[in-house]
């Protein structure tokens, strides 16, 4: 009994650890792949060399991040079986085909065209190279679509029956793929990936603007990233709100934990801005509340009743404190991003986007925060699903395979050591690449003067350089 508890705890920690590391890279590469496709298209369309410079700069960073995403992803595809083989046997008939489609429609597409995107421009020409770049970007989005369908099904299962050996059997694929939370989750995650990337780009550009405000490549990056921040952050807040309402409908217990509602509120629930969950006493200590706001947000009605965790049996309650805090971290970062986006918009309107030093400093600080928000959001949704792997139907403890605690412990330690070494090195190389100056626009697609973000710097004389 003790050892099966230890094995479960270790296996859960191992999964959380490996998937947390993994999610960082797709969150970055989804956004970066689209950014690269847009840059390449702008270069081909306008002939403005600055876009090619920015493309080449981020292409190298993308290659390293993508490589880390691939290797950590291969680990994920086998981990369902190694530690969670009961889960694999039971959910395989429903989730397996979706994951197989992810491999077939997305991973091969990315991998097949990545080589051409990175190494093949001179061999295939600009048109096919653009096509390859678009395929890589499309592959990342396709991949997100399938894996979020899988994850959403685990949160809001639909379209299945259960057979006599306890396997989930597909009945209606449409209902499985487009399960109730899927559209909300997909939108929220893809926007999160775009925002994360936008803030990384803004942070890098901000860093270089602090040293040199006149580099056209840096200015272009910063301008594009700040447009994204201004436009996407409000969209994301709207998507998050819609997702929350959907979660209230299908996973009310998760919302109770996120909101910290230990007690039921028959006539309007307050929004707890902050506090410290006290699971022993089942209350939030030191709570700072705004009356009725929670009901207003979730039900769009000040006096709508909301049920609390007091209506839920203890053995169906997720770990409240983790969900409560991670949700606040995510939302807090979201609103900080909104602030930066609006600030950037105002400074642009005033014509001071490249001259506001404090804005540049702020973007440097915010640069990595998208990753923190993605991780916090992921923790909110995954821990909020506990104690189930398939919500309401398959408990996490029943998903474990016949693993021995020492074997899981040994593999866990190996993963931790290897991941910190390997991905630490990768992060170091990426940071070093980001620390390098993006260089100056020097490659014209066509003959003629180089137009660089509206200004014509001295660097245009470099236009004579031959293609790489």
């Amino acid at each position: 009994m003790l050892s099966s508890f230890a094995a479960e705890t270790l296996a859960r920690f191992q999964f959380a650890f490996t998937v947390s590391f993994h999610i960082i890279f797709p969150a970055f590469s989804i956004g970066l792949a689209s950014f690269l496709a847009v840059l390449n298209a702008l270069w081909l369309w306008t002939g403005d060399a600055v876009y090619r410079t920015v493309f080449d700069y981020w292409k190298k960073i993308f290659a390293v991040a993508f490589g880390m995403g691939v290797v950590s992803g291969i680990v994920m595809s086998y981990q369902f079986g190694t530690n969670w083989s009961e889960y694999a046997d039971k959910t395989g008939p429903v989730l397996g085909p979706l994951m197989a489609y992810e491999v077939l429609s997305a991973f091969f597409l990315e991998a097949g065209f990545l080589g051409i995107m990175l190494f093949g421009r001179e061999k295939v020409g600009n048109g096919l190279h653009m096509f390859a770049t678009a395929m890589v970007a499309g592959g990342t989005l396709m991949s997100a679509t399938w894996i979020l369908s899988v994850n959403s099904w685990m949160q809001t299962p639909a379209g299945f029956s259960i057979n006599d050996v306890g396997q989930f059997v597909p009945e209606d694929w449409w209902a499985i793929i487009f399960n109730p939370s899927f559209p909300y989750r997909l939108t929220h995650m893809v926007l999160a990936a775009y925002l994360t990337t936008a803030f990384v780009v803004a942070g890098v550009a901000g860093w270089h603007l602090l040293k040199d405000r006149n580099n056209p490549a840096t200015r272009t990056m910063f301008s594009m990233a700040m447009w994204m921040a201004l436009i996407v952050t409000p969209l994301q807040i709207g998507a998050g709100d819609a997702h929350g309402i959907n979660t209230l409908e299908h996973q009310p217990v998760k919302i109770m934990a996120m909101e910290g509602h230990y007690d039921s509120h028959p006539d309007g629930a307050p929004l707890i801005l902050f506090g410290i969950p006290n699971p022993a006493e089942k209350r939030i200590d030191y709570a700072i509340e705004i009356p009725k706001l929670s009901s207003l947000i979730l039900e769009h009605d000040l006096n709508a009743p909301l049920k609390g965790l007091d209506t839920v049996p203890d053995d169906q309650e997720p770990p409240v404190a983790i969900v409560f805090f991670s949700f606040r971290v995510m939302v807090g970062i979201g609103f900080a991003m909104l602030g930066i986006g609006l600030w950037g918009g105002i400074q642009r309107w005033r014509g001071r986007l490249y001259d506001t030093t404090w804005l540049h400093r702020a973007t440097v600080v915010m640069g990595p925060m998208g990753f923190v928000a993605v991780l916090a959001g992921w923790i909110t949704t995954e821990v909020g699903r506990q104690p189930y792997t398939v919500y309401g139907l398959l408990r996490t403890s029943e998903s474990l395979g016949p693993v021995a605690a020492p074997a899981v412990a040994a593999s866990l330690i190996s993963f931790i050591v290897v991941y910190f070494f390997v991905f630490g090195a990768g992060t170091f190389y990426i940071m070093r690449m980001m620390g390098k100056h993006p260089g100056t626009a020097r490659l014209g697609l066509r003959d003629g003067p180089v137009r660089a973000a509206g200004i014509t710097p001295l660097q245009q004389t470099h236009n004579a350089h031959p293609a790489e």
Partner: protein, 336 residues
């Protein structure tokens, strides 16, 4: 012969195809890593790595398809195999992490280049070894009770699995050597040519040793290979093998570029079919059959619809990617 029966067999064929494609494709790029220490200079190692840099990711995706496909259509087989081969699988994954990142990291540092060279070699060798061990462990059989793995944590480690592990390392090295020969000129080409012949001989010795030992793992295998009428059905395998061996050695002797690589691949394909014949109709010997492990009909059908469209498409653009990077490598061309 109802529909479930046929679908599950089509799927067994498709999974086998994915695994075989993985073995021959990632086999040669893992082989390039295994041969890394045998390169004479840093420049030769650069050239060797560049010969696979644009395609290794696509090659490795077939491994993800093998795992993902098994999860989709034979979830029970996936569950018991992953439990039984827990340690070799985890070690393989960690090894693939090391070698995968080496492709990018190696070019980002001068001081640590040797570390990533070692990671590329060590990761490739370890991954190959684990794959061979996993294969051997599967051949020797996996204990299952009531849909669960019921063997021990070290069942995968026996003299037989060590033999199959080393055999796969040597075989991948042969694939890697003949690939690099095909893709390069000059010093590195000659170096690989020198290595290819002893590697070819060693591979044959290992194929022979594994072939002789395998039938004694399980009486069913013995019957299939050496008793009538199984013997007649399996006879084409040794005959084809002999042809591939002849092509390999004459190709090497005459200095052909492409024949040795294709013949080495043929050795793998034929051996793989041989193992398939031993396994049939089981997916996990000795007791889990293809039909028993199959997912419900609805899963098999749904997955097959898209697969029948997507696999040809994948093969087409993968072939195109190989075509783009065809011919001998220009050692000075790389994006780094």
């Amino acid at each position: 012969m109802d529909i479930i029966f046929e679908l599950s067999f089509i799927w067994a064929g498709l999974i086998a195809f994915a695994v075989l494609t993985y073995v021959v494709l990632d086999g040669f790029d893992l082989g390039v890593g295994i041969l890394f220490p045998f390169a004479h200079s840093k420049k030769d190692r650069d050239t060797m790595m560049n010969s696979v840099a644009p395609i290794w990711d696509g090659n490795e995706t077939w491994l993800v398809l093998g795992g993902g496909g098994l999860f989709a259509v034979f979830p029970l087989a996936y569950a018991v195999v992953m439990s039984a081969l827990y340690m070799p699988i985890i070690l393989m994954l960690l090894a693939l992490v090391f070698r995968g990142v080496a492709f990018e990291y190696r070019w980002k540092t001068e001081r640590w280049k040797r570390v990533w060279d070692a990671a590329f070699f060590g990761g490739s060798t370890m991954a190959a070894l684990c794959q061979g061990i996993a294969l051997g462990a599967l051949v020797q059989g996996i204990k299952i009770t009531d849909r669960h793995y019921s063997g021990g944590w070290w069942d995968w480690l026996t003299p037989f699995t060590v033999l199959t592990g080393v055999a796969v390392v040597v075989g991948y090295a042969l694939l890697g050597a003949t690939w690099v020969m095909m893709k390069t000129d000059g010093a590195v080409h000659h170096r690989m040519r020198d290595l290819a012949k002893p590697l070819a001989i060693a591979t044959l010795v290992f194929i022979a040793a594994v072939s002789i030992w395998t039938p004694f793992q399980n009486y069913t295998y013995f019957e299939r290979w050496f008793a009538m009428p199984g013997f007649l059905y399996t006879l084409p395998i040794p005959v084809l093998l002999a042809i591939a061996i002849y092509m390999l050695f004459t190709g090497l002797a005459r200095g052909h570029d492409v024949t040795p690589f294709l013949s080495s691949m043929a050795l793998f394909v034929i051996s793989f079919i041989g193992i398939g014949i031993s396994f049939y109709p089981n997916i996990v010997p000795p007791a889990l059959s293809i039909v028993d492990a199959a997912a419900p009909d609805a899963s098999l059908k749904f997955a097959l619809v898209g697969t029948s469209v997507l696999i040809p498409l994948i093969l087409a653009y993968t072939a195109y990617a190989y075509w783009v990077f065809r011919g001998k490598l220009d050692p000075d061309n790389g994006y780094h």
